[in-house]
């Protein structure tokens, strides 16, 4: 009898201990976030079910929003255009914490240990760093170039060793900020790197940072394994002196394509990708594409690169074979294809088709459409596997 009472007592205690807002017990490795840019909301999606499982509203202006994930892949940090930084619980589909940290932001990154979240700002410029747990501010680092003027910051990524790296758009510099211990940053500046760096990214091994220049015909390369750091110009005159086409949408370096010995990056103002040798960082070929590339996203494993294009040719995707550097498949998902995201091991790819209000899901091998999900003006798609990658 006593034993029975004990069992009942334990059962009651367990029931009482369960929180009122308990969420379904499940993993988060197949989850992701789709930005709904016009309505300031995000969809929580399940890549295995090929379905939306929740929506989180009231996240502000999400034009040009991006997302990073906590190391445990339970929380997403959403960076909004209006300076909003929202920490979302993917299991509860709810906002855990939200702050408006600046006037006009462009993106963010999370440190390799998952403790620091950095946000890149257009207004007031510079980078602000926050405690990933509480979103309280750890550091505010204005981007004052050698000319003393405040600069917009672009191409912010995490690099190994509690560090971040970004470019100063107006000043033409690249900065590395590190937090070796505590909240005081160590700042390394590379100045005079070139005119108007518009985006940058680091290779998946965390070694090479590349920044594209808008004001000049070239790309800047920094090898993070070489001390002291040095900014080196590569691909000088890749436009061969020809007049650039009008650029109706800036290309992105995010999700870029490192495949085997090659990297494929968008050529600005041209209907081309440039193939770069990953050892020498020199051009080894071009890929003729349908329009001006915006994203060139590699399929995990490196077999293909999927490319979308700037307005007004943004209804089309090219799939490029990374061995032959030829387009092997060209198709039209619909009006305004804004982003593509592969499932973690690359068997499927999700495509946001903004003006059709749909996310489409394709088989990455056969290119057949597998499913569609309704979404309100979808743009960026971000899966939790990004938590495990450098420079995401």
């Amino acid at each position: 009898m006593r034993q029975w009472l004990a069992v009942i007592a334990v059962a009651v205690l367990i029931a009482a201990a369960a929180p009122a807002d308990a969420v379904e017990m499940r993993g988060t490795g197949t989850l992701g976030v789709v930005i709904e840019r016009a309505s300031g909301s995000v969809l929580i999606v399940d890549t295995t079910a090929r379905a939306a499982i929740g929506r989180v509203d009231n996240l502000g202006d999400l034009s040009h929003a991006s997302v990073v994930f906590s190391p445990d892949q339970r929380h997403a940090f959403v960076f909004g255009r209006d300076g909003g930084l929202s920490k979302i619980d993917l299991l509860a589909a709810a906002v855990t914490k939200r702050i408006v940290q600046g006037g006009n932001a462009i993106g963010g990154a999370i440190s390799d240990d998952g403790e620091l979240v950095a946000v890149s700002n257009y207004e007031p410029g510079g980078v602000r760093v926050f405690d990933a747990r509480t979103l309280s501010q750890v550091a505010d680092i204005p981007a004052l170039g050698t000319d003393g003027r405040a600069s917009k910051t672009v191409g912010l990524v995490d690099i190994p060793g509690r560090r971040f790296m970004y470019a100063l758009y107006d000043a033409g510099e690249i900065w590395v900020i590190g937090f070796p211990g505590g909240a005081t940053p160590r700042i390394d500046k590379l100045t005079g790197i070139g005119k108007l760096p518009y985006d940058g990214n680091v290779t998946p091994d965390g070694r090479h940072y590349l920044a594209g220049l808008f004001g000049e015909d070239g790309v800047v390369h920094v090898d993070l394994w070489q001390e002291p750091l040095r900014a080196r110009r590569i691909l000088d005159n890749y436009g061969r002196g020809e007049e650039r086409l009008p650029v109706y949408k800036m290309p992105h370096f995010e999700g870029w394509a490192a495949a085997g010995d090659l990297m494929l990056i968008p050529a600005i103002g041209r209907h081309e990708l440039i193939a770069i040798d990953k050892q020498e960082f020199r051009e080894v070929g071009r890929v003729a594409t349908y329009g001006q590339p915006v994203f060139a996203v590699v399929r995990p494993g490196g077999r293909h690169v999927w490319v979308n294009f700037a307005h007004p040719l943004n209804d089309t995707i090219d799939v490029v074979d990374t061995m032959t550097l030829k387009v092997v498949h060209r198709f039209k998902p619909g009006p305004a294809v804004l982003h593509m995201e592969f499932t973690p091991r690359g068997h499927e790819v999700w495509v946001s088709v903004r003006d059709a209000n749909k996310v489409q899901i394709y088989d990455a091998t056969t290119f057949a459409k597998k499913a569609e999900i309704e979404a309100k003006a979808p743009s960026g798609i971000f899966f939790t596997a990004r938590a495990t990658r450098i420079g995401q």
């Binding site: 840019r37 016009a38 202006d61 999400l62 034009s63 040009h64 255009r81 209006d82 006009n104 462009i106 257009y122 207004e123 917009k152 672009v154 758009y169 108007l196 518009y198 808008f214 004001g215 009008p246 650029v247 109706y248 949408k249 800036m250 307005h311 007004p312 305004a336 903004r354 003006d355």
Partner: protein, 112 residues
């Protein structure tokens, strides 16, 4: 007034229909496809200038910020771009009338 309550019930939708008809007529009088252009301003200009036009990599396009340029200057910037900056000329994608319509829209600040 000898109007029955059931007749009254129809009034709101009748007024709405009338309003829509007037709006449609006004839209068709202007040659630019205003719905298409509004969408373009919000989504494609918004890529650089922000969905609410408060600025991004590009300058703010709020009426306040644009006060220093007149309609013709703005129309010219839209069509020809600004050399040395990422602002492209949109001449290949729109007519002068359409660019002028966008300049007016931005000067009025009535997109949102």
């Amino acid at each position: 007034m000898c109007v029955t309550s059931s007749t009254w019930r129809w009034w709101p939708s009748a007024i709405l229909m009338f309003g829509l008809a007037v709006a449609a007529a006004a839209a068709s009088e202007r040659s630019p496809d205003t719905e298409k252009l509004t969408h373009l301003v919000r989504q494609d200009c918004g890529g650089c200038h922000g969905l609410t036009l408060k600025g991004g990599l590009g300058k703010p396009l709020t009426a306040e910020h644009l006060g220093q340029w007149n309609r013709d200057q703005l129309t010219s910037i839209i069509l020809n771009g600004v050399p040395g900056t990422p602002m492209p000329g949109w001449r290949a994608l729109m007519s002068e009338d359409e660019a002028r319509w966008i300049a007016d829209l931005l000067k009025r600040g009535t997109l949102r």
